[in-house]
């Protein structure tokens, strides 16, 4: 034993010093990557450096979302459900990170459960929301829901609220560009999403200046729907609705008293982002 100790005595042991902290910059989430803002701007949130999204980041996010949409809608409902469930799995494994960022434990639990709940809807929504219609003629008449396309979302400033606007939009085969004022939790969620087999561009998250960037998304010709759930200023909401009118966007405006994220969401958040396609198919041939 003594021989061995002598033989290894030349090895240096690490000095007992305090480690330098590894500081983290919270960057945007666009097209499956974590870029800094195109503008190079950042802002401080609770001592953390956070990328401050510009309107050009919003534009890039729309391009990424548009590119991803046909592939996501083309995946089977079963596959989409698996991906959403995978998000729940990864979120479950990283609960502590969210709690460390100030999200309460019950809220993290509720968020995980909400992902699981929506994951289950992926292959059921078409059955509940679609229909076979009786018609006076020799036809099968079938109404089937289809995704609206690219959805711009102003997310509420709670973690459960954030999950509750993203999940219904993507389970219905839309792709989203999310503006959030809850940067650390949202980008940590993006890290969960990035490791959950969600195709690049299906979910894009922009941090900072939601009020400044929302009008650009509202008036953007290549955005198909606008979810104003997180807009608390009624004047801004009206301005955004006016901007959206130019390209006939579908607009979700929450009731004035707000939405209780903790309550069971029901089908409305999903059906609001679906279009109905009705097919007349001749029978008897």
């Amino acid at each position: 034993m003594a021989v061995k100790a002598a033989a290894t005595a030349w090895r240096r042991t690490l000095p007992e010093t305090t480690r330098l902290s590894v500081r983290k910059t919270y960057k945007l989430f666009i097209g499956g990557k974590f870029p800094r803002s195109e503008s190079g701007r950042t802002y401080l949130v609770d001592g953390d450096n956070v990328a401050l999204a510009s309107r050009k980041d919003a534009r890039d996010a729309v391009v990424a979302a548009r590119k991803a949409q046909p592939g996501w809608a083309g995946a089977t409902a079963y596959n989409r459900g698996q991906v959403l469930y995978r998000i729940a799995e990864m979120l479950e494994a990283r609960r502590e990170e969210f709690i460390a960022r100030g999200v309460s434990e019950p809220e993290v639990n509720a968020a995980v459960d909400r992902w699981v709940w929506y994951a289950g809807w992926s292959d059921k929504i078409a059955q509940v929301h679609g229909s076979v219609n009786p018609v006076a003629g020799p036809y099968f008449n079938i109404s089937a829901p289809e995704p609206t396309g690219v959805v711009a979302v102003v997310a509420p400033e709670s973690f459960l609220g954030l999950v509750s606007v993203i999940a219904p939009a993507i389970v219905t085969s839309n792709t989203v560009v999310v503006l959030t004022g809850l940067p650390q939790a949202a980008i940590t969620l993006a890290e969960v999403i990035a490791t959950s087999d969600v195709p690049a561009g299906v979910i894009n998250i922009l941090t900072g200046d939601a009020a400044g960037n929302a009008p650009w998304l509202a008036s953007h010709d290549d955005v198909n729907a606008l979810d104003l759930t997180g807009v608390t200023n009624p004047e801004l909401a009206t301005e955004l609705e006016r901007g959206a009118a130019g390209s006939l966007k579908r607009v979700l405006r929450p009731p004035a008293e707000g939405i209780d994220s903790a309550a069971e969401p029901g089908l409305q958040p999903m059906t609001a982002l679906l279009e109905t396609k009705t097919v007349w198919h001749p029978k008897g041939f």
Binding site: W216, S219, H220, D221, D222, G243, G246, S247
Partner: protein, 308 residues
């Protein structure tokens, strides 16, 4: 240094006497110029200039008369919603589609370009290439895009390439001749510089980077080398030759980088549709979307523009 320099050895010593291209330097220079920021009114002017420089191209086996007619109509009036949008420089089609495009473009001032000489490979006998060229000119094309024989060039037979360009130039008559170097197959920047000089000595009115049919098409550094070549050629001979990058230029951002490159390399004499063209198809829609963004103040979407 004249167009009579046809002997194999003269050509060889001339082309190999050109200074070599600093690969790292030219790539760094092109990348640096690509970071220039062009905003507001300058951007609006750049977009309109870029639209006026577009050779709106369709070179598919699946081209139909209907598609070529639609493309030609778009060339005349790229943005039907905005009369202030200028027409493009030219429409570029296969020889068989020239009569169709000629009907639409007649008297409009928009040029009609046709690829010829066994595009895109150039691997056909000279008589076939000349017949191809004459046919396209007779059908109404006033610009001919020829391909050089890369095989002969890479084998060092500069005289063959030279004679071929001279012969095609003759077959063109009054039509402008653009010579496609297919830089993606030339392997080195030195070869690009040599091929540029070879084409210009043989009488090319334009030198063009690519057919768009090989994976490596127009790049900024290659265009930079070609712009240097036309600049130096004019300084030596007094004759101005145009440049046309083609293939892979899809966005307004890309197009503006090329405009910066022209201004900083060849000078603003080349900032005109007579001396610089973009061979492109999808670029036009992006230019129109950016133009709409500037005029309306909101971002435009592809749903509002024609596919072809």
């Amino acid at each position: 240094m004249t167009a009579t320099t046809t002997s194999r050895h003269d050509l060889r010593s001339l082309l190999h006497g050109l200074p070599g291209v600093d690969k790292v330097g030219v790539e760094a220079r092109a990348a640096a110029l690509g970071t220039r920021s062009v905003k507001s009114t300058a951007k609006a002017a750049a977009i309109d200039l870029a639209i006026r420089m577009v050779d709106l191209t369709t070179l598919e086996g699946a081209d139909t008369p209907g598609k070529v007619r639609a493309l030609s109509a778009k060339a005349l009036r790229p943005d039907p919603a905005d009369a202030s949008c200028p027409p493009v420089a030219a429409v570029c089609v296969y020889p068989a589609m020239v009569p169709v495009a000629a009907q639409v473009l007649a008297g409009s001032g928009v040029h009609l370009a046709s690829v010829a000489t066994a595009f895109p490979s150039g691997q056909a006998p000279l008589e076939v290439k000349l017949a191809d060229t004459r046919g396209a000119v007779a059908a109404g094309a006033d610009e001919i895009d020829m391909v050089i024989s890369r095989g002969a060039f890479l084998a060092g037979r500069y005289d063959l390439v030279f004679d071929e360009i001279v012969a095609v130039k003759q077959a063109c008559g009054d039509a402008h001749l653009k010579v496609i170097l297919e830089t993606g197959e030339l392997a080195t920047y030195d070869n690009v510089r040599r091929a540029s000089w070879l084409a210009m000595l043989a009488g090319a009115d334009f030198i063009k980077t690519s057919t768009g049919k090989v994976p490596l098409a127009a790049t900024l550094p290659v265009t930079l080398v070609m712009l240097e070549a036309v600049r130096d050629f004019r300084a030596r001979t007094g004759r101005q030759v145009g440049v046309k990058p083609a293939g892979g230029i899809k966005t307004t951002k890309d197009a503006i980088k090329y405009l910066v490159l022209i201004n900083e390399t060849a000078g603003d004499d080349w900032l005109h549709p007579d001396w610089f063209r973009f061979g492109a198809s999808s670029l036009l829609n992006d230019l129109l979307m950016q133009r709409t963004k500037l005029t309306t103040g909101h971002y435009a979407g592809p749903d509002y523009f024609t596919l072809d």
